[in-house]
């Protein structure tokens, strides 16, 4: 059918790239991870608890839209645990959308190795890639991932970024090379840092004072609030994104890319349009990438009655501002841009949170929204874009940027 046109290119491309790589003119895959002796980015001996290693591959792949349409993407795959000699092969056509979620704790030192595995479907491209840890405070140019201002990694090689994470909050990450193209193509992911307060039993116990049916400790906090006001029982990263299928098809078909006419027709949460958003766990693997699962982040939100839900919402689409609402549920904005809503000179209990029914995010913005379900009847609620034209999967009129919040 109409979506199968490029399928035969894959084996040819693999053969081409395999031949191209054998001479080893470029570097080799060497993730740097203290304590790791075999290059799989997993320490082989005791290491400090705050040392984290992650090995991401950057390349191409496929995802399936909620209307069944395959979409060619660039993005990241998780190669942690893969022996270095296998990393290039494991990374082939393995791109996920969204990229693998990165969850860190305050104080963590992250050794993030990025291997450029090349573009199987586009062997004519030799694009380097980077990781931009979006919002990282006090950033250095070297690890900021902006190609103009730093270094990007070429095909077949590995660049290890170092991030010491001292400020909790909701961030995001993406590739910054040819940003308009690589980001429209899908090199975007969730990233958040949990606060040190999560390790404080006295603070967690504040949750126990809540009336039944909850009366249990908090699972964690959004920030080091010192007053328990950002405590939650459930947390979900929700990343807003959207694709222009004409742009992706132009890339797939080696055509000029329509920058000026970019128009996103697939609005998504965590890389899926409704109703795929509420599928728990992975979506089925697309045939186009040889059967690799590529959409692993569900947006189904569930909570018990009376529980508090933290929504870590970020927006990394490249075309629009989007407004989200949780119809029938109270929304309280407790953080914005990976900072608690509290005046810089203020202390505990002097918060400037606001209660709302909508949050509006442009690209590169994040908000932390607490949904307190106390007194909310059990049932299924919807989190969706109030830009109602975006409740669609291209020509399908019921779908798009929407998911469900199920209160049991």
């Amino acid at each position: 059918m109409k979506y199968r046109r490029n399928f035969l290119i894959i084996p040819l491309a693999i053969a081409f790239l395999a031949v191209a790589w054998i001479p080893g003119a470029q570097g080799i895959v060497i993730p740097q991870c203290p304590g790791d002796t075999n290059g799989d980015a997993i320490p082989d001996g005791p290491v400090p608890a705050n040392q984290k290693c992650l090995h991401l591959g950057a390349g191409d792949g496929f995802v399936t839209m909620a209307d069944g349409r395959p979409i060619y993407i660039f993005s990241f795959s998780n190669l942690t645990g893969v022996p270095p000699v296998m990393a290039m092969m494991e990374g082939e056509l393995a791109a996920n959308f969204p990229a693998p979620t990165i969850v860190l704790k305050e104080g963590d030192e992250l050794y993030l190795s990025l291997t450029n595995v090349g573009m199987m479907i586009r062997p004519d491209l030799f694009d380097p890639h980077t990781v931009h840890y979006h919002g990282f405070p006090q950033a250095s140019a070297a690890f900021d991932g902006v190609p103009d201002a730093s270094i990007s990694i070429n095909m077949g090689s590995t660049l290890t970024y170092y991030y010491k994470n001292m400020e909790p909050g909701t961030y995001m990450f993406h590739c910054h090379v040819e940003a308009t193209e690589h980001m429209q193509m899908g090199m975007l992911g969730n990233l958040y840092v949990k606060p040190a307060q999560d390790e404080n039993p006295a603070m967690l116990a504040l949750g126990s004072s809540r009336p039944a049916p909850v009366n249990k400790p908090f699972l964690g906090f959004a920030y080091n609030d010192e007053d328990g006001t950002t405590g939650f029982d459930r947390e979900y990263p929700i990343q807003i994104g959207s694709f222009d299928p004409n742009f992706h098809d132009a890339s797939w078909n080696v055509q000029p890319l329509p920058f000026a006419n970019m128009r996103d027709l697939y609005p998504m949460l965590n890389g899926r349009g409704y109703p795929d958003t509420v599928v728990p766990g992975d979506l089925p693997a697309p045939a186009e990438n040889g059967g690799k699962v590529s959409q692993k982040v569900s947006s189904l939100i569930t909570a018990g009655a009376g529980e508090r839900i933290l929504l870590r919402i970020s927006n990394l689409n490249v075309t629009n501002f989007y407004t989200l609402t949780a119809l029938g549920l109270p929304m309280q904005v407790v953080g914005h841009g990976a900072r608690q809503m509290r005046g810089p000179a203020q202390g505990a209990n002097e918060n400037i949170y606001h209660n709302t029914t909508t949050v509006t995010l442009g690209g590169g913005e994040s908000v932390d929204v607490l949904v307190d379900t106390t007194g909310v009847p059990a049932g299924t609620y919807f989190l969706y874009a109030t830009n109602l034209n975006f409740l669609s999967n291209d020509a399908e009129d019921f779908g798009g940027m929407m998911t469900e919040i199920v209160i049991n």
Binding site: Q32, V146, A149, I151, I153, K164, P258, N320, G343, G363
Partner: protein, 439 residues
């Protein structure tokens, strides 16, 4: 000459940096937004062409200083007045259509006539600049067309007691103090509108078909945004938006949404404190939060810029908690922090190095040169003020080995110039090593 010492020889870096900081402080060199002082202004609205990086030449209607050397300009001149000034603006209209100016955010504006008639009409406006802050002015006559055509500009009202050398504040609030100030005036264009007007099709302009393909900061598209102020190659687009600072300094970002679209303005490098919106400080009561930021200020890494709205934010950078020494470690990088070779608390008074990270080596090795692609603004070294090895022809756009941080619209489709990447609403901040003169 002294800079060469910093870059090429690590020995005595701390000493030479200290000397340079002293000399720089003595010179009082700090960046100010270029503009014309008031409170009496003569502006002329006239037509002319600007060149855009996609190779186009667009008809623009712009304000210019009456009788001034630039003629029309895009955006109009930055008008700089003091709080309490009685501002008088005489507009002469050289356009073939009537025009006028509105001054959002200022009360009791009086006008000598509703409009300035086409082809030579004159109108005079008066108002009192009662509140300090960042404002804009733009056409009030058929503004959907005339603002698109370029009739807009910025007004900066200095607070009472402002002194360019001794009391640099955006507002009366002590938390609005800054070292350097920069303007980021965000606009868009649809070339078809400009071409229609250019070829006599004024009445054919259809705003329902507006399709932006050009995005500007201070009237320029990237990469022209990073050229210097009044560069000869941009005769009618005089304003740069390249920002520069040293570690430990405060940058005042005056941001104006002067077009019709919303833009998420993402400033790489660090969070900034949003201290004011639309010319009003985010304080619960006058002075609340002093000497720190206003008490209702919030820190963020992306500023949500709305059409017709202005924002003031304070940005700072020290590299605190990076976990490695930004001035390098080992042979060639010898320096002290707080006079010590070992870590200590606080910041070095001269270099602003975060001393707890002093002497900590870069935790990872960078790949071999053949594994990398290099940006023009990459010095070759991760360390501030140092150059490193680069293949022939690479780098070269970072003369002081600073850290370049991209400041741009995070609606990334706006980083193009009419289908050509890169471009659009993008500029850079340079964190320069201590001692590098700014401006």
């Amino acid at each position: 000459m002294k800079r060469t010492n910093v870059k090429c020889r690590g020995l005595s870096v701390s000493l030479s940096i200290a000397l340079l900081v002293l000399s720089a402080a003595g010179a009082g060199a700090q960046a100010d937004i270029p503009g014309i002082p008031g409170p009496v202004f003569g502006l002329t609205a006239s037509a002319g062409h600007i060149d855009t990086p996609d190779g186009d030449s667009l008809l623009v209607w712009g304000y210019g200083v009456t009788g001034g050397p630039i003629g029309f300009q895009y955006p109009g001149p930055n008008l700089i007045v003091n709080q309490g000034d009685e501002v008088v603006i005489t507009l002469t209209n050289s356009l073939p259509v009537p025009t006028s100016i509105v001054f959002p955010g200022h009360g009791k504006v009086t006008a000598s006539a509703p409009e300035a008639a086409a082809n030579g009409g004159v109108v005079q406006y008066r108002f009192t600049a009662s509140h300090p802050g960042t404002y804009m002015y733009h056409s009030g006559t058929r503004p959907d067309l005339q603002v698109e055509m370029g009739l807009l500009g910025a007004i900066i009202v200095r607070p009472s007691g402002f002194d360019p050398a001794l009391n640099r504040k955006a507002y009366g609030h002590a938390g609005s103090a800054y070292d350097h100030e920069y303007l980021f005036l965000l606009t868009e264009m649809d070339p078809r509108v400009h071409n229609l007007v250019d070829f006599g099709g004024l009445d054919l302009v259809d705003n329902t078909k507006h399709h932006t393909v050009l995005w500007f900061i201070n009237g320029r598209n990237a990469l022209d945004t990073m050229l210097m102020d009044f560069t000869p190659s941009k005769p009618h687009q005089p304003y740069s938006s390249m920002a520069r600072m040293h570690p430990g300094e405060k940058v005042l970002m005056r941001i104006i949404g002067a077009g019709r679209e919303l833009h998420p303005f993402h400033h790489h490098g660090n969070h900034a404190a949003l201290i004011a919106r639309d010319g009003r400080v985010l304080e619960s009561s006058p002075g609340a939060g002093e000497p720190g930021f206003p008490d209702l200020a919030t820190l963020d890494f992306t500023q949500q810029v709305l059409p017709g709205s202005t924002m003031d934010a304070i940005f700072g950078w020290t590299g605190k908690d990076l976990g490695w020494d930004i001035y390098g470690t080992g042979p060639g990088y010898e320096h002290t922090c707080n006079g010590l070779t070992v870590p200590s608390t606080g910041y070095d008074p001269a270099t602003k190095e975060y001393c707890p990270d002093h002497g900590k080596a870069l935790p990872v090795a960078l790949p071999e040169l053949q594994d990398l692609t290099f940006g023009g603004h990459w010095s070759g070294s991760p360390f501030l003020g140092f150059f490193g090895p680069l293949p022939p022809g690479q780098g070269g756009l970072n003369p002081n080995a600073g850290f370049f941080m991209m400041w741009h619209s995070h609606t990334e489709r706006e980083l193009v110039n009419n289908d050509i990447f890169p471009g659009g609403m993008m500029t850079m901040l340079i964190i320069e090593p201590p001692g590098v003169p700014i401006p």
